[in-house]
Subunit: 336 residues, 2 copies
DNA sequence: AACAACTGCTCAAACGTTAGAGCAGAAACG
DNA sequence: CGTTTCTGCTCTAACGTTTGAGCAGTTGTT
């Protein structure tokens, strides 16, 4: 690996001159001829600035951490794409972390920030993480932006318009003529679940539709949670004719289980999910979904982290543009 | 952020003493009392070694890069999990890179290695990447291990037992009584496609079954490729009664398209896929699959990279333990 | 008693980079 | 012509860490 010193020797100038030219400092004051020699030498030696040297000197790594609960999840991969694109455009790199069950977030984050591996972080906590464990993390002055959740003593966040998403999904079923509309929701303490809940309720209220309390389950967002929800809801009397599922993974599970139970979708039961992903297209029947803009969340979160790093500004943003978008496929139909 | 100097000042000793104690150097020669003071001071100040300082001095980052073509792919996320687990156990961190269509691998890798951001890399190239573009990368002495492919002037690789996987899948259909067994394969130049192909052919040959040449398509591994394959194969006369799909994503697409075309699986057509993932469980019908051990590939790749970094040894490994494993679900049945 | 060997530390240099200060020589100005 | 200003560089310190060398003081050996 060639260093600045190697380039300097080859071009017959000092290290500082090379540094100034190659990092194009604003007031480099170097003659065109010398500049030319330096650039040429650097090219010949295939010089690349050493990351550690630069980071040590400047106390900046140009890296932002992205910590998500589960990289397997199709939704988070969309988010990651957005984060990567934004970071790349701004000359940053994304370092991906996991905050799964084993290491509930805290340690990873403290390490990444504490060791100076990243300048800041975008952090999506899993639903299983107690906010209490985060309190001390977030009160440090580190540039951390919360994704899809927020915190009382807020530190900056980027969230989706969950309310609107659930509302659109519910309204879709209402417009098809459904009245007995159930809601397979996430865990009660989940930030997004709370917001989707209000959307669902508001849509029903606006239409003057009342449903039994048991029409809402609050089990969780996983495939298995969806399976469980199907059984609970279908055991009710009267049965719902339509279900709004708060998460696409749960919807996939719910749909599979309906199939197994001999419940025909959409003939016997309409299913609409909040979230869209390629997995929703490939179920049978393909899932009607409300596309939430996870890609944009990723972009916005990284932009927000970088702004925080570079200017110190914090903000709480809700992605409303582009808005949640209903994608009608084949899992919904008028009730019979 | 507390530095060694801060800890030293608080404990009333020199920086070197602190460094030796905290990085527990083998021959630190520090009294128990001093050691105690140092550890205590470090704890109080919440000291964490600065990444850049350490990396600069030691010319080691303890980071391995993992570059995969597409982080959205459920298979690669499994691989990533394995890579992460292995890295964590050995005190390394994984830096995830993308080698998608836009930036065909070369630049990313050259940067990560050239700037000293990583000590080595595990690299899975997409099927669309020409091996020629990699030649110069791999001839550098950098510790790069190829994943699911290998290279003539080999630099170290970790691959799955693709041959065996395809063989098991094909044999499953044979054992159910199928004779007209088609194969929806990846692109001709794909390393894995070539190997899966031999497995398929060998299984047929061993059973004394001959099929038309057109029974193999070589379109690719994506969902859409799978859809196309379904149409091509079903246009043949006689129609195949069973299809081995070389990739789970393609299988998902193929299955969906069959559905759309009114072809009943497994009544009219059996489908078995090489690869298993959670997406295969949640199709309808659930896909019979040969589970390939992607998790193990990830682990092994990282272990191999680290070995290369630390001892210089290179190796070409094929994962045979655990072996590919047939998971029978509901997309296969005897022919009618 | 003289010296070696060990113990328990400290000093200082180095990794590659950036950036303020400095310094010759040339050009501009009075 | 003497002074100032500008140009085009170089010198040097610093970021936080590791590590070989060094150095008092103590213990052990002859």
């Amino acid at each position: 690996m060639a260093t600045l010193g190697d380039v300097a020797a080859r071009a017959g100038v000092s290290i500082s001159a090379v540094s100034r030219v190659l990092s194009d400092a604003p007031d480099s004051r170097v003659s065109a001829a010398t500049r030319e020699r330096i650039v040429e030498a650097a090219r010949e030696l295939n010089y690349r600035p050493n990351f550690a040297g630069r980071a040590l000197k400047s106390a900046r790594t140009q890296v932002v951490g992205l910590v998500v609960p589960d990289i397997t999840n199709a939704l988070f991969t969309e988010l990651m794409h957005g984060a990567e694109d934004e970071a790349t455009e701004r000359g940053y790199t994304v370092l991906l972390g996991r905050s799964d069950d084993v290491r509930p977030g805290g340690e990873v984050i403290a390490r990444l920030i504490g060791e100076g591996r990243v300048d800041g972080m975008a952090l999506q906590v899993g639903d299983a993480v107690q906010p209490a464990g985060l309190r001390d993390l977030l009160t440090t002055q580190a540039p951390i932006v919360l994704v899809n959740s927020s915190n009382p003593g807020h530190v900056g966040s980027v969230t989706l318009d969950d309310h609107q998403g659930a509302l659109i999904a519910t309204r879709h079923l209402l417009e098809l003529g459904h009245q007995r509309i159930a809601f397979a929701n996430g865990l009660p303490r989940s930030f997004t679940a709370k917001r989707r809940r209000t959307g669902y309720k508001l849509a029903l209220a606006a239409a003057g539709v009342r449903v039994p309390k048991a029409y809402e389950t609050r089990i969780g967002y996983t495939v298995d949670n969806g399976r469980t929800a199907l059984h609970r809801l279908m055991a009710l009397d009267p049965r719902p004719t339509g279900i709004v599922v708060a998460n696409v993974n749960a919807a996939v599970g719910l749909l599979g289980e309906a199939r197994k139970a001999g419940i025909r979708v959409p003939d016997d039961l309409s299913v609409v999910t909040v979230h869209d992903s390629w997995t929703a297209e490939n179920t049978w029947p393909p899932l009607t979904a409300v596309k939430m803009q996870f890609y944009t969340v990723g972009r916005t979160a990284v932009r927000s982290v970088i702004r925080r790093i570079e200017t110190g500004e914090t903000s709480d943003e809700v992605i409303t543009d582009p808005p949640p978008e209903l994608v009608v496929r084949e899992s919904t139909a008028p009730p019979r």
